[in-house]
Subunit: 457 residues, 2 copies
């Protein structure tokens, strides 16, 4: 009987016990954004440390940061085998609007083999899954086939504010050959996915100043530049009518999709009508020459997130306003550099600035895009591990969003990041009635066990 068969039996035998333990963990209201839960964050971190201890991990530490604690542990007895850093987060989103929950967010309960409770899917349920994999392996005679370090933070839902610095400060201690994160989802129910690329983020705010104060549009209108006309002209200059970005050099560093990637995306089940319904639009709209998945996963964007100026109340006010402005963010893809992109934006704005107004630009935070190439052996191995448990072929996907901490791992630790998620996009993370399908928990335990075994040299 192989170790994997033994583990399978172990997971089956201990299932009830594990689900009860998961409930205990989910019951701690570890809401990182609310100061009244500061003590609960410490309780959750210590609870996690206890679970790691029970699992047989070593060097378990609950470590203070300027914010909520970081929990670390390791098991490093696999000699020259690869070292895996497992990252996850034990903090959760607030629960409002509480009245929409069918059961209490911090009294987890199972209905129809689905665990309901805040954090069930994002991310305490998936963190717990990893701890149980470690426990199962460490109780078996063969122990872990690879070296493992864990890093669980309590600030993911508030932007991982102190984790970048923690990783920089403990770069040597956290050194690993790969980073495994289970904080994303399957492609669809029953269809596993390895996400190998994320978009980065950068942005600017444009403030346009016209006259010193608001002017009467009758007295001055026609002789003074209107800051709203100026901001509209600037914003309209960013795209052509098909949505292609017109900022000179913007696409220069974009890594082209490989034929294999395009083929992989094209094979995925994608229904345009379903997507229109999901997004709530009557038609999709994007850069020509690319499919919807290519547009949203592998092409950069320049999105105006907000525009403001003049009077926006009810009715009419004949004002020629003093100010107008807009907030812009760009989603970036490999190998775009946020610093270069902001420079190009500045140049574009400078070049297209209409006469008669002053324009001021302020910069937002920057996050680099991330990619571990689709054909990387550690990515392909993850896909194969999924396929031992799921009947469908693994989807190799990208995601359009940004997970800043992934770029940090990529950049500081210089290790490939493997996003192996077991959630579903319909599981209401960040919303009432968050849940986690327990068949994916069951499969996840086995997929991760297989993966650790598979990447052994």
């Amino acid at each position: 009987m192989t170790q994997l068969s033994q583990l399978d039996a172990y997971f089956t035998a201990h299932r009830d016990e594990h689900l009860n333990e998961m409930k205990e963990f989910l019951a701690i209201p570890s809401i990182s954004s609310l100061s009244e839960h500061k003590e609960d964050m410490i309780i959750a971190a210590n609870h996690l440390a206890t679970l790691l201890k029970k699992a047989g991990m070593e060097n378990i530490q609950v470590r203070d940061t300027a914010g909520h604690p970081v929990v670390t542990a390791d098991w490093l007895h696999a000699d020259d085998q690869p070292t895996v850093l497992v990252y996850g987060h034990y903090d959760v989103q607030p629960v409002d609007p509480i009245e929409l929950w069918h059961s209490e967010p911090f009294k987890p309960e199972i209905r129809d083999n689905i665990m309901y409770g805040r954090g069930a899917s994002d991310d305490k349920g998936q963190v717990f899954m990893h701890v149980k994999v470690l426990e199962a392996m460490l109780q078996s005679p063969e122990k872990l086939p690879v070296n493992v370090k864990v890093l669980f933070e309590g600030e993911e839902e508030i932007g991982s504010v102190h984790l970048d610095q923690f990783i920089i400060d403990h770069k040597e201690e956290l050194k690993a050959d790969l980073v495994v994160i289970s904080d994303t989802g399957l492609y669809a129910p029953g269809k596993p996915a390895v996400c190998y690329a994320l978009r980065g983020l950068t942005g600017v705010q444009i403030n346009v100043q016209g006259p010193k104060g608001d002017l009467h549009s009758g007295i001055y209108g026609g002789g003074v530049q209107n800051p709203i006309h100026a901001i509209a002209t600037l914003l309209a200059s960013f795209h052509d009518e098909h949505g292609t970005i017109q900022v000179e050099g913007f696409y220069d560093d974009v890594r082209d999709l490989t034929n294999e990637e395009r083929a992989a995306f094209a094979e995925l089940d994608f229904n345009e009508d379903d997507m229109k319904a999901e997004a709530g639009v009557s038609e999709l709209f994007g850069e020509q020459g690319f499919t919807y998945l290519e547009q949203t996963w592998a092409r950069p964007t320049l999105e105006v997130n907000g525009v403001f100026g003049g009077f926006s109340g009810e009715g009419i006010k004949t004002v020629l306003p003093a100010k107008a402005g807009a907030k812009i963010t760009c989603r970036l893809v490999p190998d775009q550099d946020p610093v270069i992109i902001v420079d190009l934006l500045r140049k574009h704005i400078e070049t297209h600035k209409p006469a008669g107004v002053e324009v001021e630009i302020t910069e937002f935070d920057k996050g680099k895009p991330f990619i571990t190439p689709m054909d990387h052996p550690l990515i392909q191995a993850a896909g194969e591990s999924y396929e031992t448990q799921y009947d469908e072929k693994t989807a190799y996907i990208r995601a359009g969003g940004s997970i800043p901490i992934v770029s940090t791992f990529d950049e500081i630790l210089q290790a490939p990041v493997i996003l192996m998620g077991f959630g579903l996009s319909t599981e209401n993370f960040h919303a009432p009635n968050e849940h986690f399908h327990l068949d994916n928990f069951d499969k996840g335990l086995r997929v991760v066990s297989d993966y650790f075994t598979r990447i052994k040299k």
Copy 2:
């Protein structure tokens, strides 16, 4: 001794008495917009009726409307001479911020031959001036050289809400050969002006609907049209880079300035640096081929008064918003028709609507532009009357703003409107420390007397 010389002597002899009476009238806090002053509005209307009675006017009536009263009177014994309708308003603006007043707004006082108090210039002081002209003429043996009707309203500062209907309902009673209004100003201190044209007004609100709800810009960005991009594209399509309006047919009905008008404007003392300082801009900006005065007086505009969409708080929110919108008003010049212009706007928006969004248009109120041609004898006569009292030549000017009631007189009574103002733009109407230079009050009494005499057949 002519009647005008007698009147001159009369005004001089009664000056102190008149100024005391003006103070009594200004002391009534006739703020039309504040319901706690409803009773004061009635007191002011009755006070005005008493002044008209003392002046020797006939058929004096304080007439109820759905809002504040209208005061009417007449003197119609000049046989086949022209009939003048004198219009003015006895309501005033609120006084906030009260702490910025150097003397109490409703305890008028004279300092350096300037009357300080709310309504001194706009418009109770000028209404009072007209009443004193009537009084002076009616006490003289020759009486009035023309027939006179007066119409003083109490709702000008709140948009003359009930006056349009009053004029329509009493069209026959108000019938006149000309309408004289003293509610505007001189061109500059010592430089008289007759304003012979005003711009009209119309406008629309554009609401752009994209997705049903706000979307995550990472997940959907690149594949869904952003309503802010759409509104920016629409707004940018309205003008070229020089500010010329690009709506097809927009300028078709614009009556060209005559050579005489352009020459008259060019002769006026206009200092670009002073205007930049006044408007608070570093450069002026407008349609090419026209001077600043031509741009703001005699050319139509399309001004975006407000734009809104997405997130406008501090920092960043990576949203692809569901909605965006803008409020637009056009200042119109003779012979543009607001109804036609709104039609052209609708067509333009329809033609330029970007893909992937729905656009809804709602219309604002419409006001027609007004003009009594500069060379009209009644306009020229007004200029000549000014020149009997002022050392400077009369400026024949237009104004960029809109006075909706002027269009109503023009349209319903079909009588030329003569705007003979004696205020100054620096006299803080609508602001703390409103005042009225009494040398212009003195001259105004004589100018209006001269005008009534001059237009006699």
